[in-house]
């Protein structure tokens, strides 16, 4: 029996018949529409988190000028900002957004293998976001426990939102995990089962590898958050003592017995650290493809890049307790986790070297995606280096309560992936809409965002080394060791943050304006090799490929092949005299 790609079997065609408006754009089972739905909701809730960060910065920079928020609001905004940005924006956007859009197109499939479940995944995600937003309107407001939701304080009186707010948060997380599981099952199964003819695992673009591995991490790690959410909900509602120790609160002895708050921390970080890579690995994959395409050069060390993705994914499960050095755990654990943390830096460094070597002596086009990709490398190296400091117990203990952690975390987990998100949107927007984003607005957006974030976060390193504590609503003059220059730095940071936040409006304007007025993009404006640029229609229609699925004849990185008429050869071009094989010597491996 000859090979028949799963996506090319008869019953698959039936899923892609013309549909009504509602079936096409609302209750859609088309992975591209679902991707855009995910993207829009993620950006909208991300804007809410952005506004909260602006309000917090106004308080910190000008504590006696603005009275927009009180201490309770401050803690609630810290919590919601962190949770929204990490889970509801970055995770949803990278996997639900880019994962949905790119996996079937890059693998040469018509859709995800379970389109109905894919649709449910989005609607559950939307429900999770709505439950989260409901938290703002319940009595007491949203939880202010910090994004790590550590018990016992998260569910005890005195913490903002300790009654309804925390329940909304836990319920929202549980629904999000259900949504992610449905999506993740789709992404992994589609990559394994629905690739087109010729698309071996080792011919897949690194974007797909990154999303694939991140989905596996998510599927295995999110249950830890689910378990802790269930148990904490029971502690809060039923009065169990999973996490809550025997404790007096507000002068009242609580009914709880000997629960273990440390158990929650282990569960949370068993999810929390892989979560870093759930966000980072898709970013790594996407940036690899952006660099290769816009430097017109094959990716340096493809096989090593794949192995590095896998190694990082596996190691990410054995480093969780480096977030808990100050929790009072056994010091030998600290030694173990410091070691594993330094080991995970090895495959990560390999990736950085390979990115630099891909660009080295390439035909670099400083397009918008390339600028953002280069900005990512720069920022990721900076953030990664401070991670080496914090990975060591003796350095982490004095720094962990300071702004040094805020700076490190935002550089490596906030700015770096967001730069990739922007780069990816500038890169794939022409395929999604058929129009180019405005170049001038894009350059303004890049330079202001890139330099602006350094204006925000570099001074925070300095503040952290001075010992300025994080999580404070205001700094009393009674804290003697904080010099007056810190308040000056705080003002500078706030002004920079306002500037960077307002520049994002330029980006949003560009997204909308270019949709109507942007320059027509054509099918393959970046002269890219990967399959999504080889569709017959731009934007691709339902089913993606017209009558016949593509057949892949080469890897995804045939750029600047000697003897070829163009400086790129798409993956679906057969090998012949006009499109020769390339890199046979394997010199770039």
């Amino acid at each position: 029996m000859s090979f028949v790609a799963i996506a090319d079997r008869d019953h698959e065609h039936a899923l892609h018949d013309p549909q009504t408006f509602v079936r096409k754009y609302i209750w859609s089972q088309d992975h591209k529409v679902i991707a855009v739905q995910y993207g829009i909701v993620a950006i909208c809730i991300g804007l809410v988190a952005l506004v909260m960060s602006v309000l917090m910065r106004l308080q910190l920079g000008f504590p006696h000028v603005f009275s927009l928020i009180d201490p309770n609001d401050y803690y609630q905004y810290i919590t919601m900002h962190g949770m929204i940005m990490v889970i509801y924006l970055l995770t949803a956007l990278f996997l639900g957004g880019f994962g949905n859009y790119l996996i079937p197109l890059m693998c040469g499939s018509r859709d995800m293998v379970f389109p109905y479940m894919n649709m449910l995944s989005f609607w559950f995600y939307l429900l999770a976001v709505l439950i989260l937003v409901v938290g703002f309107f319940v009595p007491g407001g949203p939880t202010g426990a910090g994004w790590t939701l550590y018990p016992p304080q998260s569910i005890l009186p005195g913490t903002p939102g300790a009654s309804w707010g925390i329940i909304c948060m836990l319920a929202s997380l549980a629904v999000f995990i259900v949504a992610f599981t449905m999506g993740g099952l789709n992404y992994v199964t589609t990559v394994l089962q629905a690739r087109c003819r010729g698309m071996t695992l080792m011919r897949m673009p690194l974007t797909v590898w990154g999303i694939f591995m991140a989905s596996i991490l998510g599927l295995l790690a999110f249950p830890a958050l689910f378990v802790s959410a269930i148990m904490m909900t029971l502690d809060a509602l039923v009065g169990t003592s999973f996490f809550l120790p025997a404790i007096s609160s507000m002068g009242k002895t609580m009914p709880h017995t000997g629960g273990s708050p440390l158990l929650f921390q282990h569960l949370f970080w068993f999810f929390g650290h892989p979560e870093v890579y759930i966000v980072a690995l898709p970013a790594f994959g996407i940036v690899s493809d952006l660099l290769s395409t816009h430097a017109r050069r094959n990716i340096f060390g493809y096989r090593m890049m794949v192995w590095a993705i896998l190694a990082i994914g596996c190691l990410s499960f054995v480093v969780w307790a480096h977030h808990m050095y100050v929790s009072g755990m056994n010091p030998y654990f600290g030694f173990f986790f410091a070691t594993t943390t330094l080991i995970i830096a090895v495959p990560t460094a390999i990736k950085v070297y390979n990115w630099v070597l891909t660009v080295w002596r390439g035909d670099v086009h400083l397009t918008l995606p390339m600028l953002f990709a280069l900005g990512f490398i720069f920022t990721f190296v900076n953030g990664g280096l401070t991670g080496l400091f914090l990975g060591n117990v003796t350095v982490d203990v004095p720094l962990s309560g300071t702004y040094f952690v805020v700076a490190h975390f935002h550089m490596v987990m906030g700015v770096s992936p967001i730069l990739v998100v922007f780069g990816a949107i500038y890169h794939w927007y022409p395929k999604i809409t058929g129009r180019m984003l405005n170049e001038t607005l894009g350059r303004i957006h890049f330079w202001c965002t890139f330099l602006g974030t350094y204006a925000i976060y570099l001074p925070m390193h300095y503040m952290g080394i001075l010992g300025v504590p994080r999580r404070y609503y205001a700094y009393s003059s009674a804290i003697d060791f904080i010099p007056p220059s810190v308040q000056t730095a705080n003002r500078w940071i706030t002004i920079s943050a306002l500037f960077v936040a307002s520049v994002q409006m330029v980006f949003l304007f560009n997204l909308v304006w270019s949709y109507f007025r942007g320059k027509p993009a054509g099918g393959n404006p970046w002269k890219s090799t990967t399959l999504e640029w080889q569709t017959t229609d731009t934007p691709p229609k339902h089913g993606n490929w017209g009558k016949d699925l593509p057949v892949v004849h080469r890897w995804a990185y045939d750029y600047s092949v000697p003897g070829a008429p163009d400086d790129f050869i798409p993956q679906n071009v057969p090998v012949d005299a006009h499109a020769p094989a390339s890199h046979d010597s394997g010199k770039h491996t």
Binding site: F3, A5, I6, F114, L185, T189, T190, Q193, A194, C196, R197, G198, M199, T200, L201, M202, R203, I216, L219, L220, P223, A224, F226, V227, M231, L234, V238, G239, T240, S241, F242, P255, H256, T257, G258, G259, S260, L262, L263, H266, L267, F270, N298, Y302, R303, V306, L310, C314, F317, V552, H553, R554, Y557, P574, A581, S582, H583, D584, G586, T589
Partner: protein, 227 residues
């Protein structure tokens, strides 16, 4: 967390062995002939089957984490100044329930064999019996809850008791999810136009899921009995 870490390490090992070591030696920049290319691509196994196995890995992660939390909380409860962990004396009906689930699993396997042989009536009967036995199991679990409540009262502060309720509830919820698929399959089967071949995959997957949840229950039951 050691159990979870070991589980993840095991999964990782299987993944590396199964997928990567064989495949990642490929040199993708080298060209293959047209005939070699046409043979390449994704495997032919039905996506639903692959999806189920991946889902089982997720569920394994969930239960491994619950069991890790159980053992950590138990260790904490036995600590010198705590002593708040009081083992639950499991109701005897759990043995009967376990028997029901074993029989349910056997019935599902019987249905799987019957559908492979093309015997419609027997497939229907065995599928029906498998589901009914599972419903009996769930009813038995509810009875066990009630027995416990009568025996020791509902005291949520007792961690062992709280874990008993949580673990059995999470396991039962997974069985209920399976019963939804089972009911859909049974309804489809009762339609005269449905060919047996159309529901063969569903029955196959039901059987795998039932065996898996039986295994999970046996592990949970052993853990509850032993501690």
């Amino acid at each position: 967390m050691s159990l979870s870490a070991a589980y993840v390490a095991l999964l990782t090992g299987v993944l590396v062995w199964a997928v990567l070591v064989r495949k990642l030696r490929a040199r993708p920049w080298e060209q293959l002939s047209a005939s070699e290319t046409s043979a390449l691509g994704a495997a032919r196994m039905p996506p639903a089957k692959v999806g189920l196995w991946i889902f089982l890995a997720v569920v394994s992660s969930l239960f491994a984490l619950f069991m890790t939390a159980y053992s950590m909380r138990m260790g904490h409860g036995h600590a010198q100044d705590m002593h708040d962990w009081h083992p639950v004396s499991e109701p005897g009906v759990l043995w009967l329930n376990s028997g029901m689930l074993v029989l349910g699993s056997i019935a599902m396997q019987w249905a799987r064999m019957n559908v492979a042989r093309g015997e419609r009536k027997r497939t229907h009967d065995s599928l029906l019996i498998g589901g009914l036995l599972t419903l009996t199991f769930l009813a038995g679990q509810l009875y066990a809850w009630r027995e416990l409540q009568v025996a020791v009262g509902f005291t949520p502060q007792e961690p062992a008791l709280a874990f008993f309720y949580v673990l059995t509830a999470v396991h039962g919820a997974h069985l209920l999810g399976g019963l939804v698929v089972w009911a859909r399959t049974l309804i489809r089967m009762r339609h005269k136009d449905t060919e047996l071949i159309d529901i063969r995959l569903s029955i196959d997957l039901c059987a795998v899921y039932w065996h898996y949840l039986l295994l999970v229950w046996l592990v949970l039951f052993t853990l509850l009995l032993a501690t």
